[in-house]
Structure formats: C-alpha cells, structure tokens
C-alpha cells in the first residue's frame, strides 16, 4: 500500500470512521489486485462491449457546429450505453470487483437514480443483492427511477435525515456499510469518497477518454483543441480528462452547475465558489458555511446537485491544468433544446451543461479548432423536469 497514492496533491485522503478503515484498506488491496489481472480485465471488457455496447460512438455534430459558427463540435456518446449514461462503466467495474472479493451484497447511494439504476442493473446481471439509499426528497421527485430500480430487483431505502437528498443518502450508505461491512460492498457512484474510490472510479471511467482520444485521431487526424465535460462528483469528467491531461496543447474545461446563478445561494459550484474541506471521506472543494457545516447544493439536474467534488478535480484546478467554469439551469435547458432540434439527440440535463459551454467556446473559436464534449447521458430520465421547465417558461 502506497500512502502517496491516496492523495492528489494536497487533496483526497481517507477521512472515515475507524469502523470503516479495515473495509477501505481491504478494498484498496482488492483494487490493486485487479490492476494487473488479465482475467479481470477480460471479464470487464466483455461486459463493456457485449452488455453495455462499447465502444460508444464519436459523433460530429454538424448542425450544432454550423449554429455555433466557429469550431467543430464532436460528441462522445456515453448516452448510448446500456441504462443511458456513463454510470454503467463504473458499476460494471466495481460490481465485478465486489464479486471477486466475495461480497454478495451491494450498497449504493443515488441522487436522481441514475447510479442507482446502473447499480440495480449490474446486481441483477451478476445475481447480487442491491440496496440503494436515496433521499426522501429525491424518491418523491424521481418516482419513475425508484420504480425502475425496484423492477430490477433492488431495494430502495428512503433517507429522511438532513436535507433528504444525495449528500444525506451518501451518509446513510456509509452508515449502512459500517453495519454490514463483512459481506457488503459499497458501490460509490462518482469519483468521490475516501481513497481508493476516486482512483478506482477514474480507472473504471477512463475508457471514455481513451476511446474518444483514439476516435478523434482516427476520424479527424488530430487531437481536439478543447475537451469539455460536466462535473457533478466528477466521474464522467475525470474519465474523459485523464486521456488528455498529458497532452499539454489540449485545453480542458470542467463545467459545474451554476443553478440559479453564481451570485445566488442556489448553485452546485463547489470548485468555482467552495473552499477546501472534508466531506464523505475526502479533502476537496466543498460547499460549506464559515462554521464548516455543509450547505445543500442546487441544480435543475439532480446528477450535479451535490455540494462536493472528487479530490482529483480540486488538484487539477489548483495546478491550473483544467479550467473549471459553471453553467446555469437556464443555459443548460437552452442547450437541451438546441441538441434536440439540431442533432435529434435528447441529452441528459447534466450533459447539457457541458454542451452549453462547448457551444460558447465553439462560437468564439476558429473553424480549424475542434471541441470534444462528453455527452454523459441521455435525457429520457429528465422528461418530467424538461416538460415542467418549458411549460413554466411558456406560461
């Protein structure tokens, strides 16, 4: 076990109760054991290809490019994965690891339900038990996804503590893990949490960027000028960015949710407006008040509605390798509409945050430039929110 690998610069670490330390260390060993294991790699590849449908395509967004009137826009189509988002990449990896470690029960947290659905899906496939912790508020808002998880055989546990949203569901999942640490595996949904989770989630998500980088070279003959991804906990972003971090000419942009605006109290922009602190086991940028109490986040997209961010993003911000910016609810919804009308693709509202920034960058860029966007998911899950939003707008 290498102590240095638990940190990304000053960020990361392992701030969990002693009752979880052995589980976290056992997980670290399990993770390290698969890093050079061709059998594991083969099993994972098989599911990524034959179950989830990888590699996902790279689509040149011709009409969106014309609309922006500048740089070319390319979409990495994570929306075409089984269950509709990049989340499945991570759940396939972690569930296979759980199986290898002899754990038959999966514990997961979920906000909107996207990670919960991906966890329930893989649990069904591998014949494992699955309990998904979900804030009561989200259970109410996302009844459709609750039904989906239950249909897939998972148990959804409503969480009634705190703000009754994703951060509280994560607390409760960690508590449940402590109580059942012997036979349970905590399948975390983003690049957050104590070491080794941020490293591990990156490892399972980096397939996004690895594929996209090769596809850009193959289809266009060169690397993109810019890479853009939305940042909730930061898993699709770190999965996309990792392949490009060493390409110093490539500009990288992470897009957080500015909610109702960065000048309001209703946003989820931990990197843009938060300050370093400890939440859910790691030291990173978080939203908290001057007393260190966590402030609930706001975003129209449930997947970005989280007051923390993975520690590697904090590091990439600190060293200036990635530029982090934020897009409002309104701008994201505008981008949803654009992609629907111009490309015939209904994006997840999370992904629309990245799209909005990509269109802005493209409109300022030259035709010789190429912008690669991670389209992290599709918008099927967001029909209710999108409809409500545009109805409200037209009234």
């Amino acid at each position: 076990m290498t102590k240095s690998s638990s940190r990304f610069g000053a960020f990361g670490g392992r701030f969990v109760p002693e009752t979880l330390m052995n589980a976290v260390l056992e997980l670290e060993q399990g993770f390290e054991s698969i890093l050079n294991d061709p059998t594991f790699e083969k099993e994972m590849r098989d599911l990524l290809v034959n179950y989830s449908g990888r590699p996902t395509p790279l689509t040149f967004a011709k009409r969106l490019t014309e609309f922006a009137g500048g740089a070319e826009i390319y979409l990495k189509r994570e929306d075409l994965n089984h269950t509709g988002a990049h989340k499945i990449n991570n759940t396939i990896g972690q569930a296979l690891l759980a199986k290898k470690m002899g754990k038959r029960k999966l514990i997961a947290e979920t906000g909107a339900g996207q990670h919960g659905v991906a966890s329930a899906t893989i649990a069904a496939l591998l014949g494992m038990e699955c309990k998904v912790y979900m804030g009561e508020e989200d259970v109410r808002r996302q009844a459709q996804n609750v039904f989906r998880m239950e249909l897939l055989g998972a148990e959804v546990v409503p969480v009634t503590s705190g703000s009754r949203t994703l951060k509280d569901a994560t607390n409760e999942a960690m508590r449940a893990w402590v109580a059942a640490v012997e036979d349970s595996f905590y399948l975390i949904g983003s690049a957050v949490g104590p070491h080794p989770y941020p490293q591990m989630v990156k490892y399972f998500q980096r397939v996004i960027g690895d594929e996209a980088r090769a596809q850009m070279i193959e289809q266009t003959g060169s690397l993109p000028t810019d890479v853009v991804a939305c940042v909730g906990g930061g898993s699709n972003a770190i999965g996309m960015f990792t392949a490009f971090v060493e390409d110093s000419a490539v500009k990288i942009h992470g897009v957080e949710a500015a909610g109702k605006g960065l000048d309001t109290n209703e946003h989820a922009a931990s990197l843009s407006l938060g300050r370093p602190g400890v939440l859910h086991g790691s030291f990173s940028y978080i939203l908290h008040d001057e007393n260190g109490q966590i402030i609930p986040a706001h975003s129209i997209s449930a997947g970005l509605d989280y007051p923390g961010v993975g520690p590697e993003h904090a590091h990439l911000k600190e060293i200036g390798r990635v530029r982090y910016t934020a897009v409002t609810d309104e701008q994201a919804m505008e981008a949803v509409k654009l992609l629907c009308r111009l490309e015939g693709i209904i994006p997840a509202i999370e992904s629309a945050h990245a799209l909005s920034e990509a269109v802005r960058l493209a409109s300022q860029g030259s035709v010789a430039e190429k912008i690669l966007v991670c389209l992290s998911g599709r918008g099927d899950k967001d029909m209710g929110t999108i409809r409500e939003y545009f109805q409200g707008e037209s009234e």
């Binding site: 969990v16 503590s161 400890v278």
Partner: protein, 264 residues
C-alpha cells in the same frame, strides 16, 4: 498527569456521558453538565453538532439537526464550557467533533481556544490514525489529548493506534453507528483485552450502551463506559420541558433518575 488521566484514577463511577452541545438549548446543556458532574461521572463528552454526522445514529442526528437550527457553532460550545468553568465546575470535558468544523475554525486556533475554554481532550470520529498528525501536533502544543477510536474490525491496527493514544482509548463496542442496541460485537471481550494489552492509557467502551445492566457489565471490562444515544434520548423526551423555567426542574429530576439508575 492530564486532567483526564487523573479523573480515571480518582473517579470510581467510570461513566462518560455524551451530550449534544446546545441541545435542546445552551442553558439546558449547562444544566445537564452540572447535573452529570453532581452525579459523579468521570468526564463528559460534548458533541459539536454537524450537518453530516456519518458515525451517528438517528437519535443523535436529530438532536444535532435541532441544535444546528438553533444556530449552535463551535464558538458556542466553547462558551458553554467556559460558563461551567466560571461557575466553578471542574468536571473533565471532551470535545467530540467531526473534522470539518475543526478545519474550518483552524486547527491551531481550535486547539488554543478549546484549552482556554477548559477542554481536556478531543474525539474526532472521522479522523483515522493515518490522517491525524496535523491535529495531534496542534493539540500537543496545548497539552490536550487526542483520544483515538478503535473498532472490533481494527485488528492489527489496534497496536499502533493505542500506542499513540492520549487520555484514553475509545473502544467501539459494536459496528454501525451510535444508537441504542441490545447486543454488542460477539468478540467484544477478546477485543477489549487486545486493546488493554497494547495501551498505556485507560480504555473506555461505547456505541450502543443503553441500559444499567449493560453499564454494569462493561464497567468490569473497561475503565470507562460511554453512554450517548441512550442519554440523548432521555433529553429528547424532555426537550420541551427542559426549556421551560417552570417545568425544567421536573425534567432534570427525571434525567437525574436515569443517570442514577445507570450508576446503581
């Protein structure tokens, strides 16, 4: 000798109760500290309310939420300690806080202010041994103890954790969160023996201790028994009365009865 170590030597009750600071009010917390000191407890843990208490069960979670909605901050917790000291109470006080409120306050400043307010040590439930150097260094500057936790699952970690322990070693009696429980980890006895053999400071046991008979039993196995949720539950039941001048005394008497039973 630190105030805490001294308390273990001179006090025979071996009881360490836990209160959520500022719950149901600052005044009630002060009343409860005096009450517990009068009953002769060994030390008192004062819990700093936190928005995301991952190690706590529903009873303490709810109490902390209410304290937060009353606007309780770390400074208020220091003021509570200062007040009981000013009133002549010398009971050892332990600050129980999650790490983020301490980080936000500043580790150097928090150590200095805690010492000034009369605290003897810190318990930080989400700060495992590997991450504890920064805080330990600051606490050592002001001679405060960083009290570590060990769990039945700590196994080979017990030795190194116990070796650096100051004040006492907090032995977690059951997996899961704080809360009222019927039973403890099945390997509790051998676990406590293991901790005892690697520790130069007293050992105390807690998490889920709720009845007089459990306290009796655990007292024979450890130097201290920590009672949290069971006591906070009593406070919750008296929540309204504790904040009313004319009902307060009856409520305090009820809680005193509970404490006496634990000590019987």
């Amino acid at each position: 000798m630190s105030r805490l170590a001294n308390a273990f030597q001179t006090n025979q009750t071996n009881l360490i109760p836990y209160l959520v600071a500022g719950y149901p009010s600052v005044e009630a917390t002060i009343d409860l500290i005096h009450l517990l000191a009068e009953e002769g407890v060994t030390a008192i843990e004062l819990g700093v309310p936190f928005s995301d208490p991952v190690a706590d069960g529903p009873i303490i979670q709810l109490a902390a939420e209410k304290a937060l909605s009353n606007g309780i901050t770390l400074s208020d917790v220091f003021a509570i300690a200062q007040t009981v000291r000013d009133q002549g109470n010398t009971i050892p006080l332990i600050l129980f806080s999650y790490y983020n409120p301490l980080l936000s306050y500043g580790l150097e400043k928090v150590a200095i202010d805690a010492e000034k307010a009369g605290f003897s040590g810190f318990i930080v439930p989400d700060l495992p041994y590997e991450e504890s150097d920064l805080l330990r260094t600051q606490l050592e500057q002001v001679s405060l103890d960083l009290i570590p936790l060990v769990a039945p699952t700590s196994e080979e970690r017990v030795a190194k954790i116990a070796a650096t322990a100051k004040g006492f070693v907090y032995c977690v009696s059951s997996l899961g969160t704080t809360g009222v429980r019927q039973s403890f980890a099945s390997n509790l006895d051998s676990f406590l023996q293991q901790v005892r053999s690697s520790s130069r400071v007293p050992i105390a046991v807690g998490f889920g201790v709720s009845t007089a008979s459990q306290v009796q039993e655990l007292r024979t196995k450890a130097d201290g028994v920590i009672v949290g949720s069971a006591l906070v539950k009593q406070v919750t039941e008296m929540e309204q009365a504790l904040c009313k001048e004319d009902e307060k005394q009856v409520a305090l008497n009820t809680i005193r009865g509970f404490v006496k039973k634990l000590l019987s």
